[in-house]
Amino acid sequence: MILWAVIALVGMGALAWVFRFAGQSVTGNAPKFRDMPYGVAFGYVLGAAVLLWLVWAYTQGRSSDQAIANKFFFLRIAIEGFIIFAVAAWLFRILGRSLGTAWSKKMFRSMPLTASFGILTIIIYAIFAIFAGAIAPYGQEQIIPGVAANIVPGGDPALGGNPEFYFGTDQIGRDILSRLIYGAQNTVGIAFATTLLAFFIGGTLGFLAATLGGWLDQILSRLVDVLMAIPSLIFALLLMTIASVWAPQLGIPLTVFMVIIIAVIDSTRVYRLARAVGQNIVVMDYIEAAKLRGEGLGYLVFKEILPNATAPLLAEFGLRFCFVFLTIAALSFLGVGIQPPLADWGTMVRDLGGFVNYAQFAPLAATAPLLAAGAIALLTVAVNFVVDWMLHKSSGLKE
């Protein structure tokens, strides 16, 4: 194994040298090859090797031998998925460039593929979340009569599946596909509401601290320092423990406590940003001019500061949403987040996680937990791509 790795490395090293030399002689010593460092040549060869391997793995995944095909099934799906997403994003961008207002056309024209992929994905998630009731074949809490519990995903009767329930049923006989679709509504919806709450708390206090300064700023900032000194997931778990004692006594669902707890913990980060953004704006001369004019606090915050803070806040909203979404998913995965009977992706991953071990002989069965986890990942990746593009754009404007 190690020997093979060494041979491969040495081989590629030699190839890199040959590649550069060939480039130099073929192009008549063009600057591109003449000034190319050896490391870069090696990088090209390495990249080519990885691409070749992927092509090989893909053909293996399409092999007629079931054992080999199963082994490379997931790689095949990943490659196909990647290509489909890339093409979809590309088509979506073309669509965006030809339809809509001049403003949206201009936006799409300078958009990288990753961002158009992100926007497309977010739109699809939004559709699923809003119309979950119409799309899902069954209700999220519906225990379908006459259908067995624990139907294995994959729809293969030989392995305990049922073609009518392609994604199988869970331990009490609810349709997993429907629960996945409802997950979009619950998981995303709750995360969205939590982020909004966090922004409301953190944003208001942050701008107040930046505008007023003085004691209020000092007290709030020190408080936030202390709260931020405790890692957020740990703090959330601690507070959830306590909430789990309170919740039944007060008769409030634990999920509500979770929303409040995560919103408060996350609002500390929002506060920091809002205060920093606010302070950058407050030192501007136009704020000084407004102050010297005798304007009140309300005018200053709503007319002068907020309109100038929307761009960084919007980007931060995306990042915060991802963070909240992942925290909730983690809590649910650990069993203290969104509570049953609400369908939720984090909980589903925990419940279905065992199916991963069937991957070698029943690859479709193993996809169920990965689908739930992948649904979480896909949305956060999408949001992050969009935010990355927005940040890149706004930093580019400054130059």
């Binding site: 740990i234 423990t241 650990l334």
Partner: protein
């Protein structure tokens, strides 16, 4: 030099103060719990004697301020109290309730978690810094874009997703590493390493992505500075520009990145330990949260917070130490 020392001492004092306040926050949060705690642990069926014995055992009959200082005093001496679950168990079996303290329960698991963190750091730190520097040097190339997509995706994915993907490929489809990490004491180092490999790799994926992006940003920022342009315009070799002019100034941001990400590990470790059933402090924490074993939750929380604060403090102090303006005052 005295100047630097003063600043560092100030930061240390501030760190200690933060820790003290954090301990207070944790204590207060726990004491917000409604009703009689002893009752709620033992459940409705417990005899009044058992409840009373636990109350005195755990000191629940004293006022909160006294309890806080007793708890704090205990913590400073390494006594983290008695686990409720253990106390509960002891009161039923009639054995001495002091048999298993929280400290005894936590110690081996803490060591396991430290081991995991160190393996992760050993892989992630060199890997991500080299990748980060490469991405900065070859920015806006195919390589940079590919790593950007890859790292963004891995940051965005929940830890359990990465964990299952790794299990799928490295444990189920190609059985290289075991998917469960049953670590026990007295294990050979190599075996231990093998069993910890998947959780360590999962954490590596998450941390590397963060660290790489931050390193890249720090280096790009640095390469844009006029003194790097000046060094290039002096006709120095690219190697010398990097080693002599960029690196001494890159040290502070890179150390900062490392410390911050090790702090980030603390959060990641909880989920990853649960997925791989790794007997570390994260798993103990989650288990205790589920059974509401308050003293253990409190202790774990304090340990996590301490590690977090210490790492941030280290980052802070390192960046002060590497700042030439502070090291060589006017």
């Amino acid at each position: 030099m005295g100047n630097v020392l003063k600043i560092i001492l100030q930061r240390l004092a501030l760190g200690l103060l933060t820790l003290l306040i954090v301990s207070m926050v944790i204590f207060v949060a726990v004491n917000l719990l409604p009703g009689d705690f002893a009752q709620s642990i033992l459940g409705q069926g417990a005899t009044p004697e058992a409840v009373a014995s636990i109350r005195t055992d755990l000191g629940l009959d004293r006022p909160p301020v006294t309890r806080y200082f007793q708890w704090l005093g205990g913590v400073l001496q390494g006594d983290l109290g008695t686990s409720f679950a253990q106390a509960n168990f002891a009161s039923f079996t009639g054995t001495d309730s002091g048999a298993t303290t929280v400290a005894q329960q936590i110690a081996p698991r803490f060591a396991n978690t430290m081991f995991l963190a160190m393996v992760t750091a050993a892989i992630a730190v060199p890997f991500s810094i080299i990748l980060g520097i490469l991405a900065a040097l070859y920015r806006n190339t195919v390589f940079d874009r590919a790593t950007n997509i890859f790292t963004l995706s891995s940051i965005s994915s929940p830890e359990f997703f990465l964990a299952y993907i790794l299990i799928l490929f490295l444990a189920v489809l190609t059985p290289i590493f075991p998917s469960l990490s049953n670590i026990y004491e007295g294990m050979a180092f190599s075996e231990r390493l093998e069993k910890s490999m998947l959780p360590a790799l999962t954490l590596t994926l998450v941390v590397t992505a963060h660290m790489m992006r931050m390193t890249r940003a720090a280096i790009i920022n640095l390469l844009a500075s006029p003194y790097i342009e000046m060094a290039r315009l002096k006709g120095l070799s690219p190697m010398r520009v990097i080693v002599k002019h960029a690196l001494p100034n890159a040290l502070a941001p890179i150390i900062n990145v490392i410390a911050l990400n090790l702090a980030y590990l603390i959060t990641g470790v909880v989920v990853v330990e649960v997925v791989f059933v790794y007997p570390g402090i994260g798993q103990l924490f989650v288990d205790s949260v589920k059974i509401r074993d308050i003293p253990v939750v409190q202790a774990c929380c304090l340990i996590f917070a301490t590690a977090f604060i210490l790492l941030n403090l280290t980052a802070d102090i390192m960046s002060i130490l590497s700042n030439p303006r502070l090291r060589h005052p006017k």
